[in-house]
């Protein structure tokens, strides 16, 4: 078990290096000289000042030295300094990152809470009205742009019926309920597409497992339907669902960009979008890296969890 985890972490190292290299290279694609883009447009560029700044930021050294410096800073937890606010990026990330994770996990929770029961009912009552209904809804859910769903929810629940707040994330000082109220619409918006995908997956995976011979054996032994379904079939059929949910986590993070901008959720996406609007390249670089790192971490955790659920992988 431990050996597997260690091996899995070692495999992640070249990927992490690649990710940091891409985020490092990202900024060098930026048009124009980084020094002149750092100064405000009105400021006159003094050549001596520019040179000393270039030296200060290490931009006069070859790219591999710059990359090594970048990596060294990252290892010390230093993400650089924002051009727009002159504040350390790490601090802003510490402020915004938990909010995005809260949104992502509550969306995932909503998606799983909808998808697994609906998938089970669809599979056990195959070709019923419920089955057709949920499959149709799922097809629409996959095809619907999340930002459109978000706007529609906002229009109905926020503006017409005024039951849910449309803006921000509330305040912890007003209690948990205030946060939850603010969380409902963004989470549904973000989780809908994932729920749609997972319903189809749960259904097809459960159907496949139910046609296996050991299920027939279990039924032949005279076990109750519920025991066969929940003890024998469900556990095996949820494996691909768990994997897919993990892989979809990246999509959730990407979707958070959009959902945060619609509902003004104070998370990483909103922070990054603001940085984009003022061309704050170090912040774009830093947030992209944090998003990628958290995705890699989640995939890693899912992989390890997977071995706990399914011993075949550990010994295979």
């Amino acid at each position: 078990m431990l050996a597997y985890v260690v091996r899995r972490i070692l495999i992640a190292i070249p990927v992490l290096l690649g990710i940091t290299f891409i985020t490092f290279a990202l900024v060098s694609f930026a048009p124009g000289d980084p020094i002149s883009s750092m100064l405000m447009s009105g400021e006159q560029l003094n050549p001596d000042l520019a040179d000393s700044l270039r030296e200060f930021y290490g931009l006069d050294r070859p790219w591999y030295v710059q990359y090594a410096t970048y990596l060294g800073n990252l290892l010390r937890g230093n993400l650089g300094i924002s051009i727009a606010s002159r504040a350390p990026i790490g601090e802003s990330v510490r402020q915004f990152f938990p909010n995005t994770m809260l949104l992502a996990f509550s969306s995932m929770l909503i998606a799983l809470l909808i998808a697994i029961p609906a998938g089970i009912v669809s599979a056990t009552r195959r070709n019923s009205l419920f089955d057709y209904g949920s499959l149709t809804l799922a097809m629409f859910g996959v095809s619907m742009p999340s930002f459109w769903l978000g706007l529609m929810l906002m229009l109905l629940f926020g503006l017409r019926w005024r039951v849910l707040p449309v803006y921000g994330m509330g305040d912890w000082s007003n209690g948990l309920w205030d946060i939850i109220r603010h969380l409902i619409m963004p989470s549904i918006t973000l989780g809908a597409a994932m729920a749609a995908l997972l319903v189809r997956l749960t259904r097809s995976s459960l159907l496949q497992v139910l046609s296996q011979e050991y299920i027939r054996t279990a039924r032949a032994k005279g076990l109750r339907q519920s025991v066969v379904l929940y003890k024998h079939a469900l556990r095996n059929s949820l494996l691909p669902v768990v994997t897919a949910a993990g892989l979809q986590f990246g999509r959730l993070l990407g979707g958070a960009f959009i959902v945060e901008s619609i509902f003004a959720w104070p998370g990483m996406g909103k922070y990054a979008l603001y940085a984009i609007s003022v061309r704050d390249y170090p912040v774009i670089q830093g947030t992209t890296l944090i998003f990628a790192l958290s995705f890699v971490l989640v995939t890693l955790v899912i992989d390890v969890l997977y071995t706990l659920i399914d011993p075949r992988i550990r010994y295979g």
Binding site: V15, P145, A292, T299
Partner: protein, 297 residues
């Protein structure tokens, strides 16, 4: 000798392809949803091609005397937007952007991904390791976030959107083609081709590639839907096609600002996006059922 063999080889293949093709067409046509998808898609393609003849107005023509008209206004079937432009005309022209971005992205990603997957699966060894590590690195980024970051740096424009979406979505095809090639490589007919002296290039392009194409086609339909959704999302964030070009995501972004007073303006662009994506998903599902040899019983 060589010529005779090639001819027979060809004849054989054509006959086999033909029956399989007919079978695929029959399976496809029996799938009602796939047919619906195909019909919707053909409709949208017609809209895109003949937009100048169908659209009642120019998509850029502003009329400051009739702003925010509701749907059903005489002369403006779906109303007008914040600059008095005809929404229906903008939607019709918008289909051109969506479809062409979808096609270009799928072509770029499909070409790179198929080539990478073919090389990786066929040669294996260090080529495989290098390409697959590259794929892993690309896949480690949440897709939309990498796209947004690159576009933020390059600057938003239609061409950058196409290029970046294409260059970032190839790993999907590479993984798929690689797994297909790994299976195909072991078939006796590949060994036979090698035994009669066919070179690597010939085996790859004549014997391996054609057998991967059906799954590439299915993925292309599905990922075109994804590309269209991503383009709209970028437009919505203001990072895609720039105004005044009519693009569905951007139209939603503009309508969002007037959500409180003119809520109907968000309906139609969203429905247009959903219709295209739904049609492509139906089509992709149908194609998979029709073309996937594993599903034939």
């Amino acid at each position: 000798m060589l010529r005779r063999r090639r001819k027979r080889d060809c004849g054989c293949e054509v006959r086999k392809e033909c029956t399989r093709f007919q079978k695929a067409v029959r399976t496809f046509c029996r799938n009602r949803l796939a047919l619906i998808g195909a019909v919707i898609l053909v409709g949208i393609v017609i809209c895109a091609v003949f937009a100048p003849y169908i659209a009642p107005h120019s998509p850029l023509e502003m009329d400051l005397t009739s702003l925010h008209k509701p749907p059903g206004t005489p002369g403006h079937l779906l109303g007008t937007d914040n600059l008095g432009r005809d929404v229906l005309s903008r939607l019709l022209y918008g289909s051109r952007i969506s479809l062409s971005v979808g096609l270009v992205v799928v072509s770029i990603a499909g070409a790179i991904g198929t080539a990478m997957g073919l090389l990786s699966g066929y040669y294996g060894g260090s080529v495989d390791i290098v390409i697959m590590r590259l794929v892993e690195i690309f896949v480690a980024f949440p897709f939309l976030i990498l796209v947004v970051a690159v576009i933020a740096v390059l600057g938003p424009s239609l061409y950058n959107v196409m290029l970046v979406l294409g260059l970032v979505s190839w790993p999907l095809y590479a993984r798929l083609v690689r797994s297909e090639v790994l299976a195909i490589r072991e078939f006796p007919y590949i060994e036979a081709a090698r035994a009669i002296g066919a070179g690597n290039t010939r085996i790859m392009f004549r014997h391996v590639l054609p057998n991967c194409l059906s799954s590439v086609l299915v993925t292309a339909a599905m990922s075109m839907a994804g590309a269209i959704l991503s383009t709209a999302a970028l437009g919505f964030l203001g990072l895609g096609v720039q105004p005044p070009t009519p693009e569905w995501g951007m139209m939603l972004n503009e309508a969002k600002q007037f959500l409180r007073r003119y809520p109907w303006e968000i309906f139609y662009p969203g429905i247009a996006i959903m219709l295209v994506v739904l049609a492509l998903n139906f089509l992709g599902d149908g194609l998979r059922d029709a073309l996937d040899p594993h599903l034939h019983r």
